[in-house]
Point group: C2
Chain length 600, copies 2
């Protein structure tokens, strides 16, 4: 059975040393996030993840969720107790506002904790994870009364939340939603319709479940401009705000899925269920996007998290399994074979995994800091520029992060050879669980279109220009250090590819939007490479400085420099190939008549 140790040293390195959280101490929420508190929270969260959640990962996968005839859903053995401990330890409240019982800590810290929980047990972590999204939507769009009614319980994880978007005939294209919301005399709405793929739609973890549901009011305009958001609790609240009468909604079925078996993916039937409008009528999609954006970052972190968990178990096997001899001659003469660690191709996969997970962790935590800065940075300018970068990076973190997370899980399974294909060894679960992250919260192709079709052009391309400049700055700063000069040159080249690719899109995407559509995925990956390159430049400089300053933990910083070099050598060359692919344009992509696709 696989094990998991939270990579706390790495998270602390990024938060304290690379992002230098201490520098933000004057900002609201950061007062309490001094280095020692960060360290304590990270270590405690890591312990919880590895000791409480990780042991339930394989058993949860095997047992899955059970739906009973009455529509109730039982989570796997141990989940209810683990959720109780999670709630009592306050992990759900960490970066929620103090006003509603949260601890008001920075999101950057919350993201680090989220990664650990998701590595240890992705299916479990989704229950509170989705609640965070619902909390965010209510924080921004809910009425004061709604906030007072739901948020304290949700923040405390006494009630969990869900997002209800997808219907059988529509996922990506939410304009097609059919679920109806009929206004009632008392100001509430009667919600009727079927939602599918509702993660955590029904379970036994909490006494109430707060559903956020997209639906149409009677005379709503067609398409996305006629969608409203409603809050629909499983149990209606009595006068004291406690769960009372059962609402007329029900889990009609749970799906059999490739992975995340321990998270109940529900068909939710709303049968005139009582709900209340959140925010303005017909503006539901905008409200939902508040949840979606947070959720997309969370899903990117899931990709990272599965990659990390798989990496650790790939390492464990490579250190233990003996097979063959080193190409340069036997290393362990008193054994009949050397460990897998001696084989360059095994090392290649492990180093790929390190370069990705450590780089992506830095990127995700930077995004967490950007979330904070959009809210609390001192000046409007700083808030805007954080928001620019966050908007640009969100689809990249989701799309590139989950693609590489899946690749990493697959590679680590590969290290285990045939034993990686056996269920009991747990490596294949990482692959199955990681797979969904490429699909939900907007399939990765949708992320690519969000990047190319929306984020790139916003404000005259201000965000991507800011990224170019940021990379340029770090390249210039790193070039003078011979330990980083090679990396700097390679990231500079990749940044040049991204600039050229951006220029190509400007010149060719407007004249024929299919050119943008056919280029989007490759463009997203180039951006991912450059963004990770930026992270490696920052981590490389931090590590070089630490070594120069005679830091105690020398092996840690030296390993960073090696991995930084590896990233430059093995990740950046891809950027040029991707640009050449996308610059071929849409013609051959779109040329075939539809009937030519069938086989005969």
């Amino acid at each position: 059975m696989p094990s998991f140790v939270a990579p706390t040293r790495d998270s602390r390195f990024i938060i304290n040393e690379v992002l230098k959280i201490d520098n933000y101490g004057a900002l609201p929420g950061f007062e309490g996030a001094s280095t020692d508190i960060v360290d304590a929270v990270i270590e405690e969260a890591g312990k919880f993840a590895s000791e409480v959640l990780a042991p339930l990962n394989a058993s949860g996968d095997q047992e899955g969720c059970t739906r009973r005839q009455d529509g109730s859903v039982t989570t796997p053995a141990g989940f209810k107790e683990a959720h109780g401990q999670f709630r009592e330890s306050g992990w759900g409240t960490l970066s929620a506002p103090e006003e509603f019982g949260g601890q008001g800590m920075p999101h950057v810290l919350g993201f680090a904790v989220e990664e650990f929980m998701s590595s240890a047990n992705m299916a479990f972590a989704m229950y509170p994870g989705l609640t965070n999204g619902a909390v965010n939507a209510l924080l921004v769009k809910g009425s004061p009364e709604q906030q007072a009614t739901y948020l304290p319980k949700m923040v405390a994880n006494e009630w969990l939340g869900t997002m209800n978007l997808t219907e059988p005939h529509c996922g990506t294209d939410l304009g097609l939603i059919r679920t109806k919301a009929e206004p009632q005399a008392d100001g509430s709405f009667a919600i009727t319709g079927t939602k599918i793929f509702i993660s955590a739609g029904e379970h036994d973890l909490t006494e109430n479940i707060i559903h956020l549901v997209l639906a149409r009011t009677p005379d709503a305009p067609e398409g996305t401009k006629g969608i409203s958001l409603f809050v629909v609790p499983k149990f209606l609240l009595d006068e004291d705000g406690n769960p009372g009468e059962r609402n007329t909604l029900m889990c009609g079925a749970i799906e059999h899925k490739m992975g995340i078996h321990a998270n109940a993916t529900c068909v939710m039937n709303y049968d005139g269920a009582t709900g209340w409008l959140v925010g303005e009528e017909n503006k539901g999609l905008a409200a939902m996007f508040i949840m979606m954006n947070a959720a997309r970052l969370g899903v990117g972190i899931q990709g990272l998290a599965q990659g990390e968990a798989a990496y650790q178990n790939g390492v464990a096997y490579a250190l233990e399994r003996r097979q063959g001899r080193a190409l340069t001659g036997p290393t362990d003469l008193d054994e009949k074979a050397d460990t897998l660690m001696v084989h360059p191709d095994v090392r290649r996969m492990l180093m790929d995994a390190r370069a990705f997970t450590e780089g992506m962790r830095a990127l995700a935590l930077w995004a967490g800091l950007l979330v904070d800065l959009t809210h609390v940075a001192a000046s409007e300018d700083e808030r805007t520029s954080a928001d620019d970068l966050l908007g640009l990076l969100t689809p990249v973190i989701k799309g590139y992060g989950t693609d590489l997370g899946y690749k990493t899980a697959t590679d680590m399974q590969q290290i285990w050879g045939g034993h990686g294909y056996i269920v009991e060894n747990g490596m294949e679960q990482f692959v199955r669980d990681a797979r969904i992250a490429m699909i939900y919260e907007g399939a990765n192709g949708v992320q690519a279109m969000d990047l190319v079709g929306r984020k790139l052009a916003m404000n005259g391309g201000r965000a991507i220009q800011a990224l170019f400049a940021e990379v340029g700055k770090e390249v210039a700063a790193a070039k003078g250090d011979e330990r980083l000069a090679d990396l700097a040159g390679r990231v500079e080249k990749a940044n040049g590819e991204l600039q050229a690719a951006t220029m190509w899109l400007m010149q060719n995407g407007l004249s024929n939007p299919n050119n943008a559509g056919a280029a989007a995925y490759d463009y997203m990956h180039i951006t991912g490479i450059v963004a990770l390159g930026l992270m490696w430049l920052r981590m490389g400089q931090t590590s070089a400085s630490a070594l120069d300053a005679g830091a105690e933990d020398k092996p840690f910083y030296e390993a960073k420099l090696v991995t930084a070099r590896y990233f430059g050598e093995r990740f950046t060359p891809e950027a040029g190939a991707l640009r050449r692919k996308m610059e071929a344009g849409a013609e051959a992509v779109m040329a075939l008549p539809e009937e030519a696709f069938a086989r005969a």
Copy 2:
């Protein structure tokens, strides 16, 4: 539930028009393989695959195999009957020698049929597939008596065969094998030991199972030079050659796996089981490699096959599912949304799948023809050069073919969005089944080392030089046709990358073998791209000529030219990036001390 139609038109195009099987009519075995017979066999096999095997694919996955307390194994419902039909239809005997009851048809045809069966039901196709490997080993290394005893029944698929290599502590490193073979007074051996991961090790499809087992005789030298091959039937034969006394071997357990649930993967316990030496003592590994090489091609075909099956279902969904509008404006105004087919990113995945499956099909069938030519080509020179190319291409077909097969299955699942993650829709089974092909019969990293460490250097690099020359020839031939000039230029460039990469390996791999080890995987992929490029040049020329000649099936050939162009545009740029990656060398790959890999 997914469906499958054998791509017979494409297979016939490759065999008849590209490989021009008629040109070989004078060679033994090819007399009976005229175009009309090829067409008839292909169509009939396609029908069998889609009508008999495909309907059992999902149910077989769901039910899996069951082992009973007595060690017997039951295959899923319908498998025994399907195997009966398979046997009666003679699909197992197609390219087996007539001497032992086979039909003596060329392997190129056998490969085409194998692909269909594997697309329709990979777990099923493995039962006769492994038997083919065992038949090959007995054909080459078995004594005349052994051949007479086992081959007629095995060729007829009345008995199935297995390969027993792996033990709990050794897979790749067969030198560590511990299973013992004690010589008995009657000339037989008593085999004792435990083998794991034995596909089709036990089942209810046939009355006997013929195991080929690697073991050590008492004074065998250590390592791979002390391994012998034994034939060990489940039931010993009576005087009439019929199954009699039960041999002392047993299936101790079957594995719970990520996929191929309907194929029993067995722990086999040999407890003094009676076996007979096949070929010379201590030369077992060479004998086993006869099976392995055939099996590796078969596994490459599995990658192709899962990619093809997934492709067809990706197309079906893209044609039917309506979501969003074309970027260039709505196409179906009387519907609320256009089909997925209008979206360039969906097309990109479908075209990737076409470029891979059609190119890999051509490569696999060419390899089938090379297998034939190694045996029956008219001159020693021709046989040698076929053998050179076959040896070089085998690890590429296995490694590149299965990597891309898995990628294709994953992409096609992606087209289905959330519905692709649901078990009942069948897309995730393609991914789970395709995954094993990257692992077994030598993990893909082992294939890369076989290519770089063995095949490349053999006979002074004669094989790779022949490939360069072949590509150069086709580039030159295609360049003058404006429909192919772009592709030709791009494949020429990729071939140049391969040549440069080969040169780099020669210069850097000998001085430090780790450079070769760290480069091997990327090198294998470059070779795969060039090999597919060669196939697309050939298919492109054939199609252009057919169009020039006024061929009836115009859309088919036009689609080939589009896909050829797409391959050039979207696959070849990767070659340069891969070369740059590998040329970074082994230093950063191997630099970290082992203890640096652990997290804390």
